[in-house]
Amino acid sequence: MNAFQYDALQIKEQARLIRRNIIRLNADSPAGGHTGADLSETDILATLYFRILNAGPERTEDPERDIYIQSKGHGVGGLYCCLAQAGYIPEQWLGTYQHFNSHLPGHPVRQKTPGIELNTGALGHGLPVAVGLALAAKMSGSPKRIYVLTGDGELAEGSNWEAAMAAAKYGLDNLFVIVDKNKLQLAGLTAEIMPLDPLDVKWAAFGFSVSECDGNDVAQLIDSLERMQTRHGAPQVLIAHTIKGKGVSFIEARPEWHHRVPKGDEINAALEELSHGE
């Protein structure tokens, strides 16, 4: 059971507070940050941590907990802010993102941060390891589910597709892949750098049960993720269509914000845009 079980309205409010912390966390970073990626994934993370995952801050060692893996490791700033919001880590730690030897390095390190399940950063590793975790759960008769968030640019890594074949072969219906399809990567548009579409057809051809939704719409995320849990016999993928930088007008859909942090007047301007709920 999830520790919060929030409804869509409550999750949206958590996502707004997480986004405010994402702005501050990146502004306080001495080494830049991935502000755009942090903001595109926020609604997905909030929906998982405040409703979907059978997990909670008091159960980080429970062997039956659901596992969340951040394959797009560079979006860890967003995950840290979500973990702080959900009580896994102290909120004061957010001011130490990428500071020397702090609890919050620039990519996830499970030995450093409570709630981090897998060290990632090099791309194309989360899904293959998640397949192993899902297999272990199946072999042990454990009901736990494995969730993994990938970027879209990251899907150019061939290791993902090796793992996808294995997931289908072993019928891993306890494996849930969420693609944060924000359409941008380091150097520009994913559609220009390495076209992915038709992505739904690709996953289906690899044996996945495919769902799609607006990945910045909490109600749609809840609906899709809960519907996926009722399907059996095949691994699941949710293609979540998102906007990179979602929530701050001057960051949204701009490639330069892949690795850039708010500075000077931008900080308050961003916080102002995120100052009111709906």
Partner: protein, 310 residues
């Protein structure tokens, strides 16, 4: 005692471990015949995961299995494990401290005439570059069984380099493998021969030939690359007037390099000759005997090196 293929020894150890209650899950990449794992599959068909010809998936899935509580054991040809899945070994297994046992099968030039894509001459140097993986290479079936038994019970990443041929025994039944040990197989006051894996047998042979010439060589089986009691190795090597290292591996980064580090860091001015596949070279494609002769890593090559040390 009849020699036994090391992969078969590995598989017997797996079966005994499962019988003893260990949750061992072998993972293969279409490498069921390479791993000689048929007997295990017959007894425990649900326990073997086969990811197809996909070494990245092999290692990552093993890491996931381990993080999910299993004792995962990858079993495939060493060259494809080390090179194709390098980042998966580094990140998913080592960096995550996953309880994966990686078996590098048919290592060195075991695949002989199949040529360089199938030779594994860099595995020790690559693994030594990753901080937290234990590294072993048994010289015979007796030692192999004890190393596998130890590895399956140790919590953390392990790499075990296995030769692809049945090796005669150099140890007696009373032998007890201890991680980190310096295994002196033969005493000798004149010079030292340090070897690991299948070329230990060449070293033993060379020492016998040297004894006929009145040269007493001690033979050291360095089956435990990490951990290693460096002070013990230093102590053993400091007593002789020269050291020859021999390995079916590139001379860069393997046992020869390790011995050089130990000697140099102690400021010990003992001459060292490193035998192996030379700097900048690939191994010849061919049967083991002429290949070893060409690269001077057979008994004759060791004897010739000993002459140069005089």
């Amino acid at each position: 005692m009849a020699s036994e293929h090391l992969a078969s020894v590995m598989v017997e150890a797996f079966m005994a471990a499962v019988d003893a209650g260990l949750d061992v899950v072998p993972v293969v990449s279409d490498s069921t015949s390479t791993a000689k794992i048929g007997p295990f599959m017959q007894r425990f068909p649900e326990r073997v995961i086969n990811v197809g010809i996909a070494e990245q998936s092999l290692v990552s899935v093993a890491a996931g299995l381990a993080l999910g509580g299993k004792i995962a054991a990858t079993c495939n040809a060493a060259p494809f494990l080390i090179s194709r899945a390098n980042e998966q070994i580094k990140v998913d297994v080592c960096y995550n401290q996953a309880n994966v046992k990686m078996f590098g099968l048919n290592a060195g030039t075991s695949y002989g005439p199949l040529a360089s894509t199938h030779h594994s001459l860099d595995d020790i140097s690559v693994m030594r570059g990753f901080g937290n993986v234990q590294i072993f290479a048994p010289a015979d079936a007796i030692e192999c069984r004890q190393i596998v038994d130890y590895a399956l019970r140790y919590q953390g990443p392990v790499y075990i380099r296995l030769d692809g041929k049945a090796l005669p025994d150099v140890h007696g039944a009373q032998y007890r493998f201890v991680p980190g040990q310096v295994d002196v197989l033969r005493q000798g006051a004149d010079l030292s021969i340090v070897a690991l894996g299948s070329v230990v047998h060449e070293a033993v042979d060379a020492a016998a030939r040297l004894a006929e010439q009145g040269i007493e060589a001690q033979v050291i089986n360095l089956s435990s690359i990490r951990p290693l009691q460096r002070d013990v190795l230093l102590n053993v090597l400091s007593g002789t007037r020269g050291v020859i290292s021999v390995e079916e591996h590139n001379i860069n980064g393997g046992v020869g390099s390790l011995v050089a580090e130990v000697l140099a860091e102690a400021g010990l001015g003992v001459p060292l000759i490193r035998l192996g596949i030379g700097d900048g070279e690939y191994a010849a494609a061919g049967a083991r005997e002429p290949t070893r002769a060409l690269h001077c890593i057979d008994a004759a090559g060791i004897v010739a090196a000993a002459t140069r040390l005089r």
